[in-house]
C-alpha cells in the first residue's frame, strides 16, 4: 500500500497561488472525479480550505502518480506546470500519513490548535465517501486521522485559551461574568480590534451593545452594524451605569474615564462588577480604575500578555501532540504493512483451492461414489489443503520486520507470481 499527498499550504504558497488552486463549490466535485479517474490513482480525497489545498491518493507508484497529479492540477486550474511545482509539496507513505495526522490535529495550521480544520477534514472525507472516491486505504487513513485529532484535542490543551486579543477579551469576560446573555456592552469609539471584540461578544449572546462615538453619525452607522443602540458621546457616562462591559478605543489624548468617574459609576450601579477593556494607545481609561473594587481593567498590553502566555502554552501542548501523532503513526504503520501480505494470502488460498477442485474433479470422474462417500472425500481434501496452507498464511499475517522477504519467498515457493 502506498499513500501520496500532493498539496500546498500557507507555508509553501502565497494566498494568490492558493486561491488559484482552490477547489471551490462545483470545482470540487469535478476535480475529485477527474483526480480519481487518473490511471495512477486508486483512491482520492481533496481537502481544500483557504490555507491549504491537498490531494490524498492511494497509489501503486508514487513518483508516477505525483507527475500525473501535478499535470492534472496545472491542466484543471490552467496554470503552468513549472511555477506550480515550486509551490507544491509531495509526501509519500510514512511522511504522507504523518502529514494528514498533523493537519487534522491542527498542528500544521497557521494558528496552531485552531479548531476548524478537523471539521474541514471530516467534510472532505464525507464528500469522498459520498462520491465513492475512497477505498480501504483512504477510509482507514482518514478515520484514523480524525481519531488522532480527537485524541490530541482531549489529551492536550492545544485548542484551549484564546490566541487573539479580541478572543482573549471575551474569554476574560466569561471568567468575570458566568454568562454573557444578560450583559450590556458599551463600545466607546471605533477601532478595528474593539469592533472585533464587540462582534465576538455579540456572538456570545450579550443582551445589547451601545455605541458612543465622537462623531455621532459614525456611531449610528456602527450601531446599525451591530444591531445596537447609538448613544451621544457627551452622555456616555450616564449610560455606563447600565453597562457591564466597556470596550474603549477612542484615540483621545487623555483619559476619557478617570478613577473618580468610575468610582461614582460603581456606586451608582451598586457595585455590580464591570469589565473595562482599553484598546487605545495612549490609554484612554485611567489605570488606577483597576484598583477599585469589582472593576477589572485590562489594557492592550495586558491582553497581549494573555495572548502571549496562551501562545506559549499552545507551543508546549503542540510538542505533546507531536508525540501522540508519532505514537499513532507507528500503530497505523503496523496495520498498513499487514495489508501488504493480503494479496499473497489471497493468491495462496486461490491456488490451493484451485488444485483441490481440479484433483477432486478428476477423482470423481474415475470413481463412482455415492453422495455420502463423495462428501467424505471432499471433506478430506479440504482438510489436507487447509492444514497445509495454514502455517504459511499465519506467518504472513504475523507482524515481523522482514515481512517483504517472507512474501517474496512464499510467492516463489508456491509459484504465485503468475497471477
Amino acid at each position: 500500500m502506498r499513500v501520496l499527498v500532493v498539496g500546498l499550504n500557507h507555508k509553501s504558497a502565497d494566498v494568490e497561488v492558493r486561491e488559484k488552486l482552490a477547489f471551490n463549490g462545483d470545482k470540487l466535485e469535478e476535480g475529485l472525479r477527474r483526480l480519481k479517474a487518473l490511471p495512477e490513482v486508486k483512491e482520492a480525497v481533496i481537502i481544500s480550505t483557504c490555507n491549504r489545498v491537498e490531494m490524498y491518493a492511494s497509489v501503486d507508484d508514487p513518483a508516477r502518480a505525483a507527475e500525473s497529479i501535478t499535470a492534472f492540477l496545472s491542466d484543471f486550474h490552467g496554470l503552468e506546470t513549472e511555477p506550480l511545482k515550486r509551490s507544491l509539496y509531495f509526501r509519500e507513505d510514512k511522511d504522507a500519513i504523518r502529514h494528514i495526522f498533523r493537519v487534522a490535529s491542527s498542528l500544521d495550521s497557521m494558528v496552531v490548535g485552531e479548531p476548524q480544520i478537523l471539521g474541514q477534514v471530516k467534510g472532505a472525507f464525507a464528500f469522498g465517501l459520498e462520491r465513492k472516491s475512497t477505498g480501504v486505504v483512504l477510509n482507514k487513513l482518514l478515520k484514523k486521522a480524525i481519531s488522532v485529532a480527537k485524541r490530541v484535542r482531549t489529551e492536550t490543551k492545544i485548542a484551549e485559551n484564546a490566541v487573539s486579543i479580541s478572543f482573549a477579551a471575551v474569554e476574560l469576560a466569561k471568567k468575570i461574568f458566568t454568562d454573557l446573555s444578560g450583559k450590556s456592552v458599551m463600545l466607546l469609539g471605533a477601532g478595528e480590534m474593539a469592533e472585533l471584540a464587540a462582534m465576538h461578544l455579540k456572538s456570545s449572546g450579550v443582551k445589547e451593545i451601545l455605541v458612543a462615538n465622537r462623531t455621532y453619525e459614525r456611531g449610528v452607522e456602527l450601531a446599525e452594524h451591530f444591531g445596537g443602540r447609538p448613544v451621544r458621546f457627551e452622555s456616555f457616562k450616564e449610560e455606563m451605569v447600565h453597562s457591564d462591559i466597556i470596550l474603549c478605543s477612542t484615540g483621545a489624548p487623555t483619559y476619557v474615564i478617570k478613577r473618580d468617574d468610575a468610582h461614582r459609576i460603581m456606586k451608582e450601579r451598586k457595585q455590580r462588577p464591570m469589565f473595562m477593556i482599553d484598546i487605545s494607545v495612549p490609554r484612554n481609561l485611567d489605570p488606577a480604575i483597576n484598583g477599585l473594587e469589582n472593576v477589572y481593567l485590562y489594557d492592550v498590553d495586558d491582553l497581549q500578555g494573555v495572548v502571549d502566555a496562551n501562545m506559549g502554552e499552545r507551543k508546549k501542548e503542540a510538542e505533546k501532540a507531536e508525540e501522540i501523532v508519532s505514537e499513532e503513526l507507528e500503530s497505523f504503520e503496523r496495520w498498513a504493512s499487514s495489508l501488504d501480505s493480503i494479496p499473497a494470502i489471497i493468491s495462496l488460498r486461490d491456488k490451493a483451492e484451485h488444485i483441490k477442485n481440479q484433483e477432486l474433479q478428476k477423482l470423481m470422474n474415475k470413481l463412482d461414489l455415492d453422495e455420502k462417500e463423495q462428501k467424505a472425500v471432499e471433506y478430506m481434501a479440504s482438510a489436507i489443503v487447509n492444514k497445509l496452507i495454514h502455517p504459511p498464511t499465519a506467518a504472513l499475517k504475523d507482524e515481523m520486520e522482514d515481512r517483504d522477504l517472507l512474501i517474496a519467498t512464499i510467492r516463489k515457493l508456491y509459484d504465485l507470481n503468475g497471477d
Partner: protein, 275 residues
C-alpha cells in the same frame, strides 16, 4: 459493641476525608480528571461511613448524637460534607472539594481529639427540641462554612483577575460571578436556618429554664454571629457589598462560629455544656 462499630466507622470516614482532602490539594496543583474522581469517591465513601457512625450512635442513645463535643463537631462536619455534595451536584463547581474538604477534615480531627464518652442525657436536654434546634443550628453553620470556603475561592480567583496572572488555576476556577452567587445563596440558605435555630433555642430555653435568654456565652456568640450575617445580607442588598467584601465577611462570619464553638467548649460554662 455498637459504640465500637460507630468508632470504627468514624475512623474510616476520618481517613477517607483525609484522602479526599489530599486528592483535592493535588487537584489544585495539576488538572487531572482521575484525581478529581478519586477525591469525590473518597469523600463519598467517607460520608457513608460517617453517616453510619452517626446512625449507630443514634441507635444506641435514642436521640441525635450531638450531646458531647466529639459528637457535635462530628455532626458539624457531616453537615458540611452533605451540603458540599448538594452543591457539587447542583453546580458542578470545579475545585470546590479542594477548598471544602480541608474544612471537613479539620472538623473531624478536632472531633476525634475531643472527649468521646457518652454521658447520660440530663433530663433538661431530653426533649424534642434537641433534634429540632440542633439540626437547624448545624445546617446553618455548615452553610456558613461552605460560604466561607467559596469566599476563599472568590478571593483567589479575584486575585488572579486583578493582578492579570491568568494561569492554569485561573482557568479551572469558576467565574467570579458564579462564586459570588453561590456565596450569596449559601448565606441566604444559612441565615433563615440560623434564625430558626435561635428561635427554637429560645423556646427550648423557656420550657427548660423558664427564660428565653440568659446571656450565657453560647447565646451571646450566636447573637454576634447572627448580626454579622445580617449585616452581610443587608449591606449586599442596600450598599452593594458584593464580591470581595462579601467573601471577606463570610470568612469572618465563619471564624466567629469557630471561635464560639471552640471557646465555649474550652470554658465549659453555661447551659450549652455540650455544644
Amino acid at each position: 459493641m455498637f459504640l465500637g462499630v460507630a468508632a470504627l466507622s468514624f475512623e474510616a470516614s476520618l481517613i477517607l476525608y483525609l484522602a479526599a482532602m489530599l486528592f483535592g490539594l493535588l487537584e489544585l496543583l495539576k488538572k487531572s480528571k482521575p484525581v478529581m474522581v478519586l477525591m469525590l469517591l473518597a469523600a463519598g465513601a467517607g460520608f457513608l461511613f460517617h453517616t453510619g457512625s452517626i446512625f449507630y450512635r443514634y441507635f444506641v442513645a435514642g436521640h441525635l448524637p450531638i450531646t458531647n463535643p466529639h459528637e457535635a463537631t462530628s455532626f458539624f462536619a457531616w453537615c458540611v460534607v452533605l451540603i458540599f455534595f448538594v452543591l457539587e451536584y447542583r453546580y458542578k463547581i470545579g475545585l470546590l472539594g479542594s477548598f471544602i474538604m480541608p474544612i471537613a477534615f479539620a472538623l473531624m480531627v478536632s472531633s476525634a481529639l475531643l472527649p468521646q464518652e457518652v454521658k447520660p442525657l440530663s433530663p433538661i436536654l431530653r426533649s424534642n427540641w434537641l433534634g429540632i434546634h440542633t439540626v437547624f443550628a448545624f445546617l446553618a453553620n455548615a452553610s456558613f462554612a461552605l460560604a466561607a470556603g467559596v469566599g476563599v475561592m472568590y478571593l483567589v480567583q479575584e486575585h488572579y483577575v486583578k493582578t492579570k496572572r491568568l494561569g492554569d488555576l485561573f482557568q479551572r476556577l469558576p467565574s467570579l460571578q458564579s462564586l459570588d452567587d453561590i456565596n450569596y445563596r449559601l448565606i441566604t440558605l444559612g441565615f433563615p436556618l440560623f434564625t430558626l435555630a435561635m428561635i427554637t433555642g429560645m423556646l427550648w430555653a423557656d420550657t427548660a429554664w423558664g427564660s428565653y435568654w440568659r446571656w450565657d456565652p453560647r447565646e451571646t456568640w450566636s447573637l454576634i454571629t447572627w448580626f454579622i450575617f445580617a449585616i452581610i445580607l443587608h449591606a449586599r442588598l442596600l450598599r452593594g457589598w458584593r464580591g470581595r467584601k462579601a467573601a471577606l465577611l463570610s470568612i469572618l462570619g465563619f471564624l466567629t462560629i469557630i471561635i464560639a464553638f471552640a471557646g465555649i467548649k474550652l470554658l465549659q460554662k453555661g447551659q450549652h455544656v455540650f455544644l
